[in-house]
């Protein structure tokens, strides 16, 4: 038995092509059943996300299996021209390796992201529920999920955050722990500040206030975020009660200075204050970071941390590949030595027989 994989992803095809072959969630089971009914395909799982469309199939003869997949895709492409050369084709063990890399986040646009694991699990459950998987793909996907877990726990492929907003949230959580007791004040109503604030709110920030030179824009953003609007002149009066200050105004000079923050920290009895300065030119005087219990991060320092995390993740790929390779060899050995011949998927066969586990 062989496992074959045919697909396109964000590295090999533009979104315009990927969307032509994407399979909607609602159509996933039907499409898999149609494919499984074709000559040369024994079992099938379709993984369709915004960044990839991949077909995994168990086939006795890979050429026959690829032929069936090509016919299926040509049929789906309908009036669009289907060019098989744009799709990558893998058979065992490359297909196994590819799946293990995908679920581990090594093939993702953001290396190490974990959302793909959930998406592949969902795809597998749909196929399994539709009765188009059996011994080989069941075992392969279960092994893949174990590999993903092992890669995440034994390597640093998921270490740190790789976007400015998520780095800011991660730093806030390293200062305050859970953010459900943290209050946020935004200076400026820019897009970056809004995005960062939404990140903070999504992690449970208790309350949010917006101060902007244009009060109308402050009100609009505060309403969008479910917070309160403040007159810009009064922002420093509210610093005593906040934990996180996000600043992103277009002021040509620093608007948050040591002279302003020093008395605030005295009144706060040095309770930590996290300042995120997303403005260019900077809104916050760099010397503010010298005050006790103040943690100031500007856009460059946030980007540097994001880049460092990405670099660490890239460096970890070699470690992940070594770890994955052991599982690829083990699974390939099992696959090539497995003597079980099953009834073809999609053909009349009792469902129970098609779902037994190894």
């Amino acid at each position: 038995m062989n496992v074959i994989c045919l697909g396109i992803n964000h590295q090999t095809a533009p979104v315009g092509l990927r969307e032509k072959f994407a399979v909607a969630d609602s159509d996933l089971v039907q499409a898999a059943r149609r494919l499984a009914a074709m000559q040369g395909i024994e079992e099938v799982v379709i993984v369709s996300t915004c960044n990839r469309v991949e077909f995994y199939a168990a086939a006795d003869r890979p050429e026959e299996g690829f032929g069936a997949l090509n016919r299926f895709l040509a049929d789906r492409a309908a009036e669009h021209h289907y060019n098989p050369d744009l799709f990558y084709k893998h058979d065992s063990p490359a297909s196994i390796r590819h799946l293990f890399r995908v679920v581990s986040g090594m093939e993702s646009m953001v290396i190490g992201e974990t959302e793909i694991l959930g998406q592949v699990k969902k795809a597998y459950l749909a196929a399994s529920g539709g009765g188009v998987t059996a011994r080989h793909l069941n075992k392969l996907f279960q092994r893949a999920f174990n590999v993903a877990k092992e890669v995440r726990t034994k390597t640093q492929i998921t270490r740190g955050s790789v976007s400015v907003g998520s780095v800011a949230v991660e730093l806030a959580e390293k200062i305050f722990g859970k953010l459900n007791a943290s209050s946020v004040l935004i200076l400026g109503a820019g897009e970056t500040a809004e995005q960062t604030s939404r990140f903070l709110l999504s992690r449970g920030a208790k309350s949010i206030a917006v101060a902007n030179r244009s009060f109308d824009r402050a009100v609009a953003l505060a309403e969008a975020l479910g917070g309160a609007a403040l007159p810009f002149e009064e922002w420093h009066r509210h610093c005593d009660g906040i934990d996180i200050l996000v600043s992103s105004t277009s002021a040509p000079h620093p608007i948050v200075t040591c002279d302003q923050i020093h008395p605030v920290m005295k009144r706060r009895q040095d309770r930590p204050l996290f300042i995120i300065d997303l403005a260019v030119p900077r809104d916050v005087e760099p010397a503010v970071n010298g005050l006790e219990s103040v943690y100031l991060y500007d856009i460059d320092s946030l980007q540097a941390i994001a880049q460092e995390s990405l670099d660490v993740r890239r460096r970890e790929i070699t470690v992940c590949e070594r770890l994955i390779e052991r599982h690829v060899v083990e699974f390939s050995n099992w696959l090539s030595s497995d003597p079980v011949v099953l009834p073809r998927a999609g053909h009349p066969a009792p469902l129970g027989e098609r779902h037994f586990e190894s």
Binding site: Q156, R159, G160, L171, E173, K174, I175, F176, G177, Q269, D270, R271, P272, N289, E292, S293, Y295, Y297, S301, A304, I305, E308, V312
Partner: protein, 182 residues
């Protein structure tokens, strides 16, 4: 002790920091015996004395853990302040969690030390005055720290610093007192 502070943060990492220290102290104790075995008390031990010794050891254990947590706070705080984020950053608990653990450990240690004093007073035998004075000094230092913490006069950073300084003070004081007594 881990059970008492466990709910505040990941216990394992405090253990990871503490184990090398425990190993170091045990090695020192093994290689350089400081207790004169001839001075050991013979005969039946007074149960109050046993309680005094046992409770006091656990109290100093809590202070030692507070000192370690204080060290962890400074490592984490330094990384945040200098923006030099190392891999340890992702393993260490948040500053707020560490500050809460330090406060809890200091309170636990202080309560136990006080109980140890009470047990010591019940022994009914005269104690070395210099040792009592030293213990009282340590008790006062920790009482002062806790009072300042409870009345919100200490920033988390200063609490961490004082937790470390107080433990170093206690260790140094008892070593000095032992030296003077000998």
């Amino acid at each position: 002790m881990y059970f008492l502070v466990g709910s505040a943060y990941r216990v394992s990492f405090l253990g990871a920091f503490t184990s090398p220290l425990a190993f170091l102290f045990q090695m020192i104790a093994l290689l350089i015996p400081m207790n004169d075995t001839r001075s050991q008390i013979k005969g039946t031990l007074n149960p109050w004395l046993q309680a005094h010794a046992g409770i006091s050891v656990v109290a100093y254990g809590a202070f030692a853990l507070a000192c370690v947590a204080g060290g962890m706070y400074f490592v984490q705080e330094r990384q945040l302040k200098t923006r030099n984020i190392q891999s340890l950053f992702y393993q260490l608990p948040p500053l707020a969690g560490l500050a809460s653990v330090i406060a809890r450990l200091l309170l636990t240690g202080f309560a136990l030390l006080t109980a140890g004093f009470v047990a010591g007073a019940m022994v009914g035998k005269p104690a070395y005055e210099i040792k009592v004075a030293g213990s009282l000094a340590v008790w006062l230092v920790y009482a002062g720290i806790l009072l300042a913490e409870r009345t919100h006069r200490l920033s988390p950073r200063r609490l961490a610093l004082l937790a470390m300084a107080a433990f170093v003070f206690a260790l140094t004081l008892f070593r000095a007192l032992k030296f003077i007594a000998s």
